[in-house]
Point group: C2
Chain length 215, copies 2
């Protein structure tokens, strides 16, 4: 089977915005973007990685959250998904937003121009890599041991890999909110129809799942 | 996490029929039921276990077929899903419909009143067990090593476990065909609403996914 590059559970507003400008420690999704509004559909499911009780919906949305780790052997993420800091690392104390048990459970490749030693938290190892999308994907594929690679975001990183035509499948959950400004994944999902099949699936939760796969 | 009993990718007609009467070697789904009509939605997906090429849809239906093995540690099936024969085993030559590589990859518990030794094909071991649904489920749970148990069907077996109130989640794909007569899962999905949440999700392929989970 081919090793796919997959975007999963990526959440944007009805106007295509996935994060605001001005990311900070206090506002990981930037100004004017309440991640709760974009991600509440996922947090309501039984399989949401952050869930510690046995409740939650097992309806349609749960199929998406429980597919998050399915056949995934590595993740690629942008520097700004990993950290609110910019420029050279002042120190190595920041170890991501996710505490001692990150939800990835695989090698993670953080794209950055600034070198930093790899480190491991539980069963997730973070590597810091430069280079273009092709070369980062080659490293992630090798680390994935035959499994697929997840492209974790943020918006800028997903756009970069789409522009390089490296994405095989893309699942975007469009939330019923308008944000007006911020980092934009698309003006319209139709922009991708020259290269991808698209199924649009409204969920009872209010989000609309957009499922793209390569033609 | 609790060990769930899950029915997955169970396909019925619009009038609730999952198999015909008169099952035989030539007609595993019985008279008047062309399994192609009930199962074509699944066969068209990239993750259908029988697929040997790299094609197939990666849209909504593929999330259901690729969830088939997810966190499943054992399967329970009825005698008639395993074999077209009835009554005592004449010999032990029949080893299921699935060839040398059954798609289960776990222990499988075949419910039957007639004893037969266990046997293994590739990474699937078939056990033949009597007793009521509760006791069979207890054995399957123990074999599942903490994972969930799949209830594989057929119709009669699913009904038996529903009547005993042992099913935790139930995914039924309703195909746009009318069969008129045969083995019936329900007169209407509404029959289960006293015990289950239900989400009804139409797929672009024409089937309508019915997702039930315990209230």
């Amino acid at each position: 089977m081919p090793q796919l590059l997959r975007v999963q559970n990526f959440s944007v507003s009805r106007d295509g915005i996935g994060a605001g400008e001005g990311q900070s420690l206090e506002n990981p999704f930037g100004h004017a973007v309440d991640p709760g509004k974009l991600l509440s559909w996922a947090g309501a499911t039984a399989s949401w990685p952050g869930r510690t009780d046995s409740g939650g919906s097992r309806g349609l949305d749960d199929y998406f959250t429980r597919d998050f780790t399915h056949n995934i052997g590595a993740e690629i993420m942008g520097r700004n998904k990993f950290s609110p800091h910019r420029g050279p690392w002042k120190d190595h104390e920041w170890r991501g937003w996710w505490g001692d048990e990150p939800p990835f459970h695989t090698p993670v490749f953080v794209m950055t121009h600034h070198e930093r030693p790899s480190f491991t938290l539980s069963d997730t190892t973070f590597h810091f890599v430069g280079g273009d999308p092709e070369s980062v994907l080659a490293r992630a594929r090798e680390a994935a041991g035959g499994k697929d690679v997840r492209l974790g975001g943020g918006v800028t990183t997903v756009r970069e890999f789409l522009d390089a035509d490296l994405v095989d499948t893309l699942h975007v959950a469009v939330s019923p909110v308008e944000l007006g400004s911020g980092l934009r994944l698309w003006e319209s999902p139709d922009e991708l129809l020259d290269r991808f099949h698209l199924e649009v699936v409204p969920s009872p939760s209010g989000v609309t799942h957009h499922l793209f796969w390569r033609r």
